[in-house]
Amino acid sequence: MLVKWLDHQTVDEAGADASPLLRLSGITKRFLTVTALQDVSFDLRRGEVHALCGENGAGKSTLMKILSGQLLPDAGEIVFKGRPVRFASTPQAQTAGIAMIHQELNLVPHLSVAENIFLAREPKRGPFIDRQRLHADTQRCLARLGVDIEPGAIVRTLSVAQRQMVEIAKALSVRAEVLIMDEPTSSLTEAETERLFEVIGELKRAGVALVYISHRLDEMARIVDRVTVLRDGRHVSTDDFAATTVDEVVVRMVGRALDDKFPPATRVPSRDVLLSVQNLARRGVFEDVSFELRRGEILGFSGLMGAGRTEVARAVFGADLPDAGTVRLGERELQIRSPRDAIAHGIAYLSEDRKGHGLALNMTVAQNVSLANMAGVANGLGFIRFAQEASVAQRYVDSLAIRTPSTRQVVRLLSGGNQQKVVVAKWLFRDSHVLFFDEPTRGIDVGAKYAIYKLLDELAAQGIGVVLISSELPEILGMTDRVAVFHAGRVRAVLDTRHTNSEEIMQHASGRLAASAT
């Protein structure tokens, strides 16, 4: 009964129903003195994927929070299926048929898939949960999506992609007609992204209207019908995707033309080896990993999700201990037992999970910058010199162009790109000369990405060895000097970036080419 709607709402394949299913008009929202949205209009048709683009702070999330009942607008109107509506809470919006899938997935990790999908709506027999029906209904939901997940599986044990499918199944089980997806592909592999797009295609055919928020503009072309751009809380444009280009969308988002996605290289990689890793292994995770990092170069770590890139970086950094292998800094063999040891040798690792592993979010910019090098701002007795700490932080705020009202600002309140720069400042202040950047541009604006790329190049130009771990091939091709391609816990190839292309890298990453090295 919960999935029956899929059958009778099917629209023809030719295109979306022209009359809007949902229309927001004149939406305005203020927070104290800040106007987050000013007279924004947005509409959604049955069976379309409508992309919502804009830099961080443009008002995308605020608009979607209003649509999904998390916030009430100060002014404006929402018309859903021809009737004006007002959602005071998420359950209200859900009951009406509007569901949102958050970037940070909202599942209970210790419950099963079935228990999550029907959380607070469990089918009951008397006072007890009807387990058989719970599982049968779940099975049907998942089968409709064409995904192969056990209803009894505990969510904690699932991959991010699988969890996302569970979220989608959950949204559909409440008969959602409008589905809002916030950065759904940000942590998916290529194959998983492919599968997600197939599911999105099926949802479109079933008449579901999707709002799609993503920073990955290139991949949107495959699924998006229309695109709306917001900038500084105002509506900029709404177009058929076919009638515009990604470049045009970017220009509207940032309000100026971006000449290049990647800055010109100013670095000159040297021949001398800075860091040499040999036969590094961690049982069941990666084995026989060897690579060299040269002074002043950017070395890419490419590969599919789970190929062992992050794990190798963490092992070199001492965050997880390897079982075998050697790490040499110049001529010297290092004994790294903890991050403290690695840091003492000038090796730093910038986690892909900025908020979870990189920053103390409730502490200030200055406190985060000095965290890895307290001795640098304290006297011999361990007393902090506050004036010095503030001036150090200010120096990095200036040199890295960190946008913050002051060095006393709490890091939580900064944008993603600026948070990333604070992490970089922390390691520069520690005088690190080997930097592992793990997905440094994930979830960061187009404009801010360019700044991060420029920073990577400048760091390398200063003679620092930079390792760039990235799932985005254009980033690898645009930013690195050499690239180590990982597959199933092994380095399959180390390629010269100038003489390779995305096909060759993908061949190695998927394990279809035999191992080779240059």
Partner: protein
Amino acid sequence: MNDRQKDLFQKFAALASLLGLTLVFAFVSDAFLSLGNGMTVALQVTSIAYLGIGATCVIITGGIDLSVGAILALSGVVSALAVKGGAPVPLGMLAGLLVGALCGAINGLAITWLRLPPFIATLGMMLVARGVALQITDAKAIGGLGDSFAELGNGSLWRVVKVGADGFPDVSFPGIPYPVLLMVVLAVAVAVLLNRTTLGRHLYAIGSNSEAARLSGVHVRGVTLFAYVLSGALAGLTGCVLASRLVTAQPSEGLMYELDAIAAAVIGGTSLSGGVGTISGTVIGAFVIGILRNGLNMGGVSAFTQQIVIGLVILLTVWIDQMRHRR
């Protein structure tokens, strides 16, 4: 409001409620606002404050210490037994202090090396320490400890006594009791530690995000261990001071004191989720509890009603704190 203003607001709110309470009680009872009663309150507050200072450090790291009430009983009886056994008083008290620090170290090791949740590790220690205290004393109080043992808890600095014309001594200034002096010194020292030293900064960093702290090279285990050792040592000190004040060590001393300590920290704005807290706030929190007890006592309110009132005050202040953090 930015965070700085919010912080001031929170502190001001706690301080305002403290002044409000004082005013109300002064109005209700004439005897409340006298120098003598002020000293009584200050003395009563000292033990909550010592324990609260330790609790603040532990809670800032995101932990909790439930064992301090039991540790103070154990430390008290150990120092008393040592003195009874012929040790000089300072040495006996040092033994009590060290026992407290040792218990704290065991807590810390259980948490950092055995990776037990702080709640469980210190719950276990609470039972063990209390059990040992009862065992070694046969559940009997130890009295007759002599005048020098009583000095720490009952003596005071700058006490001015004049011998009157009638030959009787006349106390013209009661002096500052040593326990109060100790409280001020400890509060200042730990506040400086938290705000001005790298160790203090690391305590906050661990509570704010322990993984980020570890990956930044902070010695997370060592620093966490320190917080529990400090909490244990302060509990040991509290045990000695209490035993000295009563000139008796009781193995059943300090029941539920850990909850007063946590309450003082929380009323003072320390967040149980870690990363947030100040010593000044905790001391204010300790005084809120102390003045409530004292004022309600003087107003003739029954002990049962006092519990109800203090419980409600805790709920109210934590609710205000939550409101402050909601966006």
